[in-house]
Amino acid sequence: MSPVSRTAGFRRSVLLSWLAALACIVVAAVALQVSEPPSDRTQNVTGVRNEPVSYGDGSVTVGSVRVGQGLDHFGGVSRTAGMFLTVDVTLSAEGNRVLSLGQFQLLSGDRVYDDYSVAGLRVQPGFAERTTVAFEVDPQRIDDLVLQVGRGEVVSGYHQQLRVHLGITPENADAWRRASVGQVLDDGSNTTWALP
């Protein structure tokens, strides 16, 4: 075979490889789109405290925020040199499928606080469940805390995360720090009820 035809054959192979790679990308994109429920196209949703935020077939409502230096859970009181912060989270399964939340994090700039007591919600259709999620935070880094919640699955075709500002600002952060002194919080038990 002449060098010219060998070069031409090599170019054809490269071209075919690129076409195959492109086909793979297109196929993967189509498959991902096919598997995505129509109501869940948004990756990150920003919500407001005490107002329901759309999540899957239902909604999530981030409610009361409390701060303290002790946390009553599992029958005992844990103390911290920092600050405990608890947030009420309600998951409502208004559609026909089970809804779950498995990831709760507090964002403070580039700092991420994981939940202190492992929390999780799994709600049957037509029901709502409220849980109290506890975090241990640095009192000096509570400005503009944002709660981030999501399903927290390792493998998922899509992932929706909700972010809600907790209402702690640089202007009122001192008041929150003062309010935490001597307080013992209760992370409580989950409450479930049927939706009307």
Partner: protein
Amino acid sequence: MTVERSSSTPSPLPPAPRSGRSRELSQRARAWIIAATVLTLAATYLVAWGTYAYAHMNSTVRYTVLDPGQPVVLPAATVELVELTLARTLTSTYASQGPTSADPGALWAVASMEVTITPGSTDPTCVFDLVGPDRRLWEPAFGVSGRTLPGSCSDDEVPVGRPTRIEVIFQVPERDADQLVGVAVSSGSSWRRLEVLRPS
């Protein structure tokens, strides 16, 4: 000793090389085979993922509702729904516990089923879901203890080969309670449509 090759005698000819055209065809065929393999893998991925999405995210294809009293035959067991009853509270064999109330606005739905474990099944698995209006689906409730009947196919009290009564408890909103369709049963790993039992 040196051996001098004679230049007068022709050396034997080497094997005839394959023509340039046949080598070119071979390379081309190889390229096509690689491309076809990659495309086949991609198509397999698409078909598998698309089938999964269609089966699990399209509520119109997932269930087959059986006639009243008709059993479901799983690899590990045969299951028949005997009775589906509603209750506001459930009794417990634990005297100190007292009756267990459903959550506010909800009722218990108790599915009494007859299960016959297939001989040879070492770890029979039956997955139950309650199907309601508009294919709404509830998983079994947990936290109800002190019941007299076993709660699953794999319970130690369910013998192999002998029909045994079990009960699976669900919690449903009261407003859906009069529109229940039946109990979907599967072995948990089947690609088949779920079959929905209805009480006899």
